[in-house]
């Protein structure tokens, strides 16, 4: 009744059962996880790590052993899809071809020295004949190393709050600069020598924005002679004379050209 889970391993069990006494062409396939930059110490991989070989009507399962290998016994000839299932790391899928060897050979002849066993990398969703590099066993007759793709990421980072991210915001930066101007400018002006100050105040009188920012001027309404539309159009209301030299300037430039 527990149909969903046992179906696959049961098939393995049956497979294994029927195969014990027909070892003439069955082969032992050994895969291994060598230490790599991604997995410096394969001994820390979780015990649930296992590998499967699947083909039409056949499947084999091998748990991770204490030597960091997967041992498939009595694998019948065929072309298998090899997968390594691990909770912490992803592995490249494999194509495992077990070719029927002459009846004289026995199961003890394992590994790559045997002409009956070839392992390649394969690409999911691609043609089965489209093989990658052939994987060679680490030692003659030894285990075939599997390739780690990387560690699995299960979580996404939540954007955490920090003062610096707020400070990096351009709006906040602009606000801070104008705050500094707002507070610092009068002090600066006070510290200027009287001549400069007079000149500066003359300037700021002409600039309508400045007078707007520094509040209503006693006696004269700063908005009185301020032409908003004109200001926005780029010509200062009280600075017609100013705009002329600049246009003349540009004219000069044009003349130069």
């Amino acid at each position: 009744m527990l149909r969903s889970i046992p179906a696959l391993p049961l098939a393995i069990a049956l497979q294994a059962l029927s195969l014990l006494f027909s070892p003439a062409s069955a082969v032992t396939v050994t895969l291994s996880i060598p230490p790599s930059p991604q997995i410096p110490n394969p001994a820390v991989l979780p015990p649930s790590t296992h590998a499967t070989l699947t083909a039409l009507g056949a499947s084999f399962l091998a748990p991770l052993t204490t030597d960091n290998t997967f041992v498939f016994r009595n694998v019948t000839p065929g072309s298998y899809l090899g997968d390594v299932h691990c909770a912490t790391h992803g592995f490249a899928p494999l194509r495992v071809d077990v070719i029927s060897v002459a009846a004289g050979d026995d199961i003890n002849k394992v590994g790559g020295a045997d002409a009956g066993l070839h392992i390649w990398e394969t690409f999911r969703g691609n043609d089965w004949e489209n093989k990658g590099e052939e994987i060679q066993p680490a030692t003659v007759g030894g285990a075939f190393p599997v390739k780690v793709l990387g560690s699995k990421i299960y979580y996404t980072e939540r954007g955490s709050f920090s003062v610096f991210t707020i400070l990096k915001n351009p709006m906040i930066l602009m606000g801070l600069v104008s705050l500094a101007l707002f507070i610092g400018m009068p002090k600066l002006v006070e510290n200027m020598d009287p001549e400069m100050r007079a000149e500066f105040e003359e300037q700021s009188k002409k600039n309508p924005m400045n007078s707007l920012m520094s509040g209503p001027q006693p006696g004269s309404n700063p908005m009185g002679n301020f032409d908003m539309a004109g200001f926005l159009a780029g010509q200062g209301s009280g600075s017609k004379d100013e705009s002329e030299p600049s246009s003349g300037n540009s004219g000069k430039k044009g003349g130069k050209r």
Binding site: A7, L17, T54, P63, A87
Partner: protein
């Protein structure tokens, strides 16, 4: 090519819509819960063992009744590692032994013996055989110095004993005895191996002991024990002592009046009387070779239990009764613990723990249980006794209780409890908390009553409600505070209530051991109630065929296969009605049908037969049943005399040679928010939304062809069919159906019918969308009709309106099973496919957008298609770990996943059961209607406060400046 593969998987990852988001780390344990379970530990396969000789700490090992081999940390009850010993869920049995001072354990089930590293849970070796493993024993003393394993196998026509090398796993020797005996157990003493078999025929067996040489496995002797037909069944043999200096075999007569004991290797047996009315006998003996050869016979009677301790004289091999422990009412569990030659017996009764030494009846320690109100009810257990300074002792015992829990008791104090009873779940359903229906009913009564009385009633109700006001006011500051710091404790809520988000729901879970549980999904899956719902004879499981929650009444109905059913209240578990088995005919299943008397669970008898029902209870819909292995029939109920009886109206069989492997039906709650899909060019493709459809998957084993049939259940018409070649019928084939699409998953290996012949191999999923017409802005033969009938052919004479089917096949990076589809309240949020990944032990939510049949093939999507969210078709779908709902959790053996909508449209509740119990919430279109944990209330308040301070601080400054300006002389 390598590069293109990389590029390919990258493109697949990029194709994932933004709505695919993984679980946030801070939500772990907040929105999800997980009971990591092993199954109920078995008496023979549970023990303490030191995984590393140099370290003093021991772990608790068990092989449970589900075939899960696991190690538990005895100090806190946490799982250290676990493995499915046989690769799948089993039905009890199996063997587990540990070798003293060795780092490995040896387990066996079915035809395989395997060895596991005790600390890491890694496999050391495994050995498959041609026969069934009947017993496994550790050989403590070998000529080599290490320890070996003895395995007893029953092969066809032979009893095979193998000595297996302890660390390398190869067979040292094999002894094959060709006979028809039933191999029972294997045992070893210092210099001999004993194989106990049953000789004879069923119900009249005689015991036979074969003595083998430890070095070569040669048979030295054969000793028949007792008279013939003394033993009726293998169950009558109580115990074969293992690894003690003087191993014994003990058996009882059929009436449980006498216990017969033989020291293995001798021809004589000794008989001892059992107490009158004994119903059960257990023998406890130490398992180490240096322990004193003492053993304890625990005999249970109907009302109580007692124990007798026996000693074996090593020189004369005479067994003498040393002392007895008095008869105590109620049940209890005995266990042995040995250190050196000392053997201690621990007795865990309902109210105390008593430790005695095997040499004398003097009590070494006695601790009353401080367990509170609930009695322990220990069935069996294991214990560790430590002798402390002086004459004091400490004991820790771990016992399996009659509520299927696994509880540790340290010196009388209750330690941890593992809720192993939740494992092995066979059926579950969501149920609402019933209480808020009261208010709804009151309001309804007020609305319909006389205005004056309704007003009086209402005022009374409000006055009555005033009594809760002070408590409410009192709770405000605390709630405010907890809301701000984000420690909203759902744990604080003792009483279970509905919440405004709809996260608090009950899950009623039935296990194969006959227990029913009510779990609070909103409170980390806490057990609200549990009860023993089904009295099954031992060895038989509760085969639940249907479970249904009636939320208007607040009842949950559970139907078993033997015709038994139980109706309980969903919030308290109180039995409303119960029917024992075999009073009603056995059932194949049960379906929820609508009738004049309301919805109810209609039982379907064997072979799809439907019994006559009262007219008021007659189902209004067509009932579809599976009438044979390969036949499906639709029935309508028609009135006949006083009753309504089912009349078959159509039947369906797949093509010859095929057999049905899966039938997918629509979820009960399947709202459709939109009847069409707006395409990128603002045209609409109308969905084919026929509520009366099922999907049938049938497979031809010989030719490996899978056919799917979309069936109209009213007319029995096949609406769509397709076949897939090269489908493995031995691997899982599952389908699911929702809205206007269905999908099936299988293992396929076939040649593409393409210009370049390509071969494909792997786990696949085929998804089919159903539309009313192939064209956009077209409703096909239906035209503008608001209704349609399955029975009226619309575009006569070609038959009923057939859907236009768009299909795509994808290759998955692993198998998926137990399919389900997310459900939301209105069906506005996009759907996700929920599935269990049996190889990765996790639950994945695959967005429907990824499994979209309209993804363009062989070209980049046009801007209009991109607007729709269609990415270029890539044949492979990597099951990204970020799509897993269960994230890094190891969820073992999921049998089924059930989904339920919350009140919030964004959220769907998910619950998975099997070996483990896991629950979570998924938000397929992001949590758009609720503030998640990412919304930091403290930051918000701090920002508001900072702004306020800024305004208050800057205000006077500005005012001062303006005033100063006014007083300055104009320039």
């Amino acid at each position: 090519m390598h590069l293109s593969f990389r590029a390919l998987s990258l493109s697949v990852l990029l194709a994932l819509p933004a709505s695919v988001r993984a679980v946030f780390q801070d939500e772990v344990g907040h929105i999800d819960y997980h009971h990591e379970l092993l199954g109920v530990p078995q008496r023979e396969t549970t023990f303490f063992h030191r995984p590393r000789t140099e370290e003093k700490a021991s772990l608790l090992y068990t092989l449970s009744d589900l075939g899960v081999l696991g190690a538990v940390n005895p100090s806190n009850g946490a799982l250290v590692w676990r493995q499915l010993l046989a690769g799948n869920i089993t039905d009890g049995g199996g063997f587990l032994r540990a070798a003293e001072d060795q780092t490995w354990l040896v387990g066996a089930y079915g035809n395989a013996v395997s060895s596991w590293d005790a600390l890491t849970g890694r496999n050391a070796w495994s050995l498959n055989s041609n026969g069934v493993v009947k017993d496994v024993e550790v050989m403590e003393i070998t000529e080599r110095g290490g320890k070996d394993v003895l395995g007893l196998f029953q092969e066809p026509g032979a009893t095979v004993t193998r000595r297996i090398h302890g660390t390398e796993g190869h067979v040292v020797w094999e002894h094959r005895e060709v006979n028809k005996d039933v191999p029972l157990q294997v045992s070893t003493s210092l210099d001999k191996v004993f194989v106990v078999t049953l000789h004879g025929s069923l119900l009249s067996y005689g015991l036979k002991v074969m003595v083998l040489d430890t070095l070569t496995g040669k048979k030295l002797d054969e000793i028949p024990l007792g008279t013939k037909s003394e033993v009726q069944s293998p169950q009558d043999v109580m115990f074969v002592g293992a690894n003690s200096a003087a191993p014994i075999v003990a058996w009882t007569d059929n009436g449980l009046t006498k216990l017969k004991v033989n020291v293995l290797g001798l021809k004589s047996k000794q008989e001892f009387d059992l107490p009158a009315g004994t119903v059960d006998v257990e023998i406890h003996a130490p398992h180490t070779i240096q322990s004193s050869p003492h053993f304890l016979v625990h005999s249970r009677t109907k009302s109580g239990h007692k124990a007798d301790v026996f000693h074996i004289d090593l020189k004369s091999n005479v067994i003498t009764k040393a002392y007895e422990l008095p008869l105590i009412e109620g049940g209890s569990a005995f266990s042995t613990s040995s250190s050196g030659a000392n053997v201690y017996f621990t007795r865990v009764t309902n109210d105390e723990i008593i430790v005695t030494s095997s040499t004398s009846h003097g009590i070494l320690g006695r601790w009353p249980l401080k367990s509170g109100a609930e009695k322990l009810g220990a069935l069996h257990g294991v214990s560790e006794v430590i002798k402390k300074a002086g004459d004091s002792y400490a004991v820790r015992a771990v016992a399996v209780t009659d509520s299927d829990d696994w509880t540790q008791v340290v010196n009388g104090e209750l330690g941890w409890t593992r809720l192993e009873g939740l494992s092995g779940a066979v059926a579950a359903t969501w149920a609402e908390f019933p209480q808020s229906e009261d208010l709804a009913r009151t309001l309804e009564a007020e609305a319909h009553g006389n205005p004056l009385s309704a007003y009086v009633h209402r005022v009374k109700r409000h006055v009555n409600d005033l009594q809760y006001l002070p408590a409410y006011l009192q709770s405000i500051p605390q709630r405010l505070l907890s809301s701000i710091v984000g420690s909203e404790g759902t744990e604080a809520a003792d009483e279970v209530t509905r919440d405004s988000f709809g996260f608090n729901k009950l899950v009623v879970l039935a296990t194969k051991r006959g227990k029913l549980y009510g779990l609070d999904a909103g409170n980390h899956g806490k057990i609200v109630w549990s009860k023993n719902a089904n009295e099954t004879p031992s060895g038989r499981h509760w085969d639940v065929k249907a479970i249904h929650a009636d939320n208007t009444k607040g009842f949950v109905t559970v139907r078993g296969s033997e015709g038994q059913f139980i109706i309980v209240k969903s919030d308290t578990g109180k039995t409303v009605e119960a029917m024992p088995s075999s009073l009603f005919p056995p059932v194949d299943g049960a379906v929820v049908v609508d009738s004049d008397a309301g919805p109810w669970l209609l039982p379907i008898e064997r072979d799809g037969k439907l019994a006559d029902v009262q007219i008021a209870w007659a189902p209004k819909q067509t009932v579809v049943t599976r009438t044979g292995d390969n036949e499906i029939q639709g029935f309508n109920y028609v009135e006949k005399d006083e009753l309504a009886s089912a009349i078959p109206i159509w039947s369906f069989s797949p093509s010859a040679g095929q057999h049905i492997v899966d039938i997918a039906t629509r979820p009960q709650h399947d709202p459709i928010a939109s009847i069409g899909r707006v395409l990128g060019d603002r045209t609409v493709k109308y969905k084919y939304l026929n509520p009366n459809t099922i999907v049938i998957a049938a497979v031809d084993n010989k030719n490996s062809v899978l056919s799917t049939y979309l069936l109209d259940t009213v007319s029995g018409e096949v609406l769509a069919t397709s076949s897939y070649e090269g489908v493995d019928s031995n691997k899982d084939i599952t389908c699911t159906l929702s809205e206007n699409w269905f999908l099936c998953t299988y293992y396929g290996q076939y040649q593409l019918r393409d210009s370049q012949a390509q071969k494909i191999k792997g786990y696949q999923v085929v998804v089919s969308d159903l539309y009313e017409s192939e064209l956009a802005n077209d409703r096909g033969p239906l035209g503008d009709a608001a209704n349609f009938s399955s029975l009226d052919p619309v575009d006569f004479p070609t038959g009923p309106a057939l859907p236009s089917v768009v299909s795509k096949t994808f290759i998955l990076s692993g198998p998926i099973t137990s399919l389900a589809v997310t459900q939301t309240r209105q069906g506005i949020a996009i759907r996700q496919l929920l599935a269990y990944m049996p190889e990765s032990h996790s639950i994945i939510a695959i967005p429907r957008m990824l499994l979209e049949p309209r993804r363009p093939v062989g070209r980049d999507p046009t801007p209009a298609e991109l607007e729709e969210g269609l990415a270029k078709y890539a044949p492979a779908i990597e099951l990204d770990p970020r799509m897993t709902v269960s994230h890094a959790r190891d969820v073992l053996g999921v049998r089924s996943i059930i989904a339920a909508p919350a009140i919030l449209e964004s959220t769907c509740l998910v619950f998975a059961y099997g070996v483990d119990v896991f629950g979570s919430r998924v938000t397929p279109s992001q949590a758009f209607d609720i503030l998640g944990k990412g919304f930091n209330k403290v930051t918000l308040l701090a920002t508001v406060a900072a702004l306020f301070v800024g305004v208050v601080g800057l205000g006077p400054m500005v005012r001062k400046k303006q005033i100063n300006m006014r007083w300055q002389a104009p320039m």
